[in-house]
């Protein structure tokens, strides 16, 4: 029995929560346009499935592109900043500034520069994902064990060898942690992107866009279904990054044992 608790417990909790949901709805006679029942949400989701799938793909594309850009550029910038403490001192405050400026303010500016649509959405996702990657990866590049560094000095390693065989692998756990955080943020970034700078074709836009559309049409069960889709998209993202984390670190890193 004990072995099965890890899945039995959450399932039981889920059933209890669903029961409470139905009970509250019946007890307080909450109308469906305020709080739809779970089965109404699923039915609405099924009815709108073509729209929702297309919308998830659209948002997913923005999220993936923004995420990859943040990971790639973040990794490179971290590497460059780790070369020289002066470079880091010069640029880090401004990277921090970018992070501190709320995306909700930057979004209209991006829309102004890049126009409504994918480019702006990618840029907004990038802005949200960039900092966790840079902060963690820079930390990783700078946390190389000193003795290991001296081993490389003693072996007369070139700068490039030191980066490739020492700094990059040593930074990997930090980089992946940054990536994990960025992974949870990327769908949120892309949804915020379609919310603020999204466009639609034939009435189908990204998840953020559909949120506005369903709300204005008072299709509240469909709105809830959109939330469910967004949640699934987030899990997919985090799952992918976690898989990568596992693949790269499972053999040697303490976090895997």
């Amino acid at each position: 029995m004990k072995r099965h608790l890890f899945w039995v417990l959450p399932v039981v909790t889920g059933i209890v929560l669903l029961g409470l949901w139905y009970a509250a709805k019946a007890l307080f006679q909450i109308p469906s346009f305020v709080l739809p029942a779970p089965d109404e949400i699923l039915r609405a989701g099924w009815q709108e499935r073509h729209t929702l799938v297309a919308s998830a793909l659209l948002t997913g594309r923005g999220a993936v592109l923004g995420f990859l850009a943040a990971v790639g550029i973040g990794f490179l910038i971290s590497m460059i900043m780790s070369f020289s403490i002066r470079l880091k001192q010069s640029f880090y405050p401004y990277i921090l500034m970018l992070q501190m400026t709320p995306v909700i303010i930057l979004a209209p500016i991006f829309a102004l520069w890049l126009g409504q649509g994918l480019a702006s959405i990618v840029a907004i996702t990038f802005m949200i994902c960039f900092f966790p990657v840079v902060a963690n990866t820079t930390m990783g590049f700078l946390s190389v064990d000193r003795n290991l560094g001296e081993l490389f000095v003693m072996c007369k390693a070139t700068r490039w060898q030191e980066i490739r065989y020492l700094r990059v692998p040593a930074a990997m756990p930090y980089f992946l942690t940054g990536m994990k955080i960025a992974g949870t943020l990327a769908p949120i970034g892309a949804i915020t992107g379609d919310f603020l700078a999204g466009t639609a074709q034939n009435g189908v836009g990204g998840i953020g866009f559909m949120t506005i559309a369903y709300f204005s049409q008072l299709k509240i069960p469909a709105l809830f279904a959109t939330g469910l889709v967004a949640c699934l998209l987030g899990f997919l993202f985090v799952g992918g990054v976690s898989l990568l984390h596992w693949l790269l670190l499972r053999r040697w890193h303490e976090s895997m044992f």
């Binding site: 003795n147 290991l148 081993l151 003693m154 065989y165 692998p169 044992f257």
Partner: protein, 234 residues
């Protein structure tokens, strides 16, 4: 801080440094390795300065200092890879070195799968892979239990029979110093100075039984007295 250390060691010597904490034993090795620049005085390694002589010198660090993401064999290969040896030659060299330290079967393991003593053996195999003329050992067995330490001491001498490098060895253990060395240098602290040099006359190969002979015990006592004389009063 080191002051007025004059020491010449010829090929094949095994010189141990022993002294109170902070006397600069490790610094001395780092100077020879060219990892710390000298502020005064000079160090000549194989007729040149330590930085240029690095090719023939290898330092075995206090902890094994292995790369956790590389398998044992890849760790041993690392110095060879960094200097650009071909894959085949470094593979076979790493295999030989692991056999030499008695860890042939651990080649495919990761460092976390090894005990402290095994890690140290890998570290020594890595150092020997470049066939250094001078091996610097900075308290390599300090963190190990006495039995493992004795075993590794014997193994180190056995390896040296086949691969006669010159060794500079830092330790806190008098027994270890006397067992291994041709010469024990007792350093005093603040600043680090040579307090005594004790020649160890026993011929190689030395067996474990040497530790029980009266001559060995006598020399051990003498070294301990010399060390006690330089320890700061408590």
């Amino acid at each position: 801080m080191l002051d007025d250390i004059t020491l010449a060691a010829g090929p094949g010597e095994f010189v141990s440094f022993i002294g109170p904490s902070g006397c600069g034993k490790s610094t001395l090795l780092r100077l020879i390795a060219g990892l710390t620049p000298t502020s005064a005085g000079s160090i000549v390694v194989g007729g040149t300065n330590p930085e240029d002589a690095r090719q023939g010198v290898f330092l075995v660090f206090q902890d094994a200092n292995l790369l956790p993401w590389r398998r044992v064999a890849a760790n041993v290969e690392l110095p060879l890879m960094l200097r650009g040896d071909s894959r085949d030659s470094r593979r076979s060299r790493a295999k030989d070195m692991l056999a030499l330290v008695g860890l042939a079967e651990a080649a495919g393991k990761f460092p976390w799968q090894l005990s402290g003593g095994m890690k140290m053996r890998v570290s020594i195999a890595r150092a020997l892979s470049v066939a250094p003329r001078i091996l610097l050992l900075d308290e390599p067995f300090g963190a190990l239990d006495e039995m493992t330490r004795d075993r590794l001491n014997e193994d180190l001498l056995a390896i040296r029979e086949r691969d006669p490098f010159t060794a500079f060895f830092v330790t806190h253990s008098v027994a270890e110093a006397v067992f291994l060395s041709t010469r024990v240098v007792v350093l005093s602290a603040n600043p680090g100075r040579v307090a005594r040099m004790i020649d160890v006359p026993f011929a190689y190969p030395r067996a474990a039984e040497l530790r029980e002979t009266p001559e060995f015990l006598e020399l051990l006592a003498e070294t301990s007295r010399a060390l006690r004389a330089v320890l700061p009063p408590t």
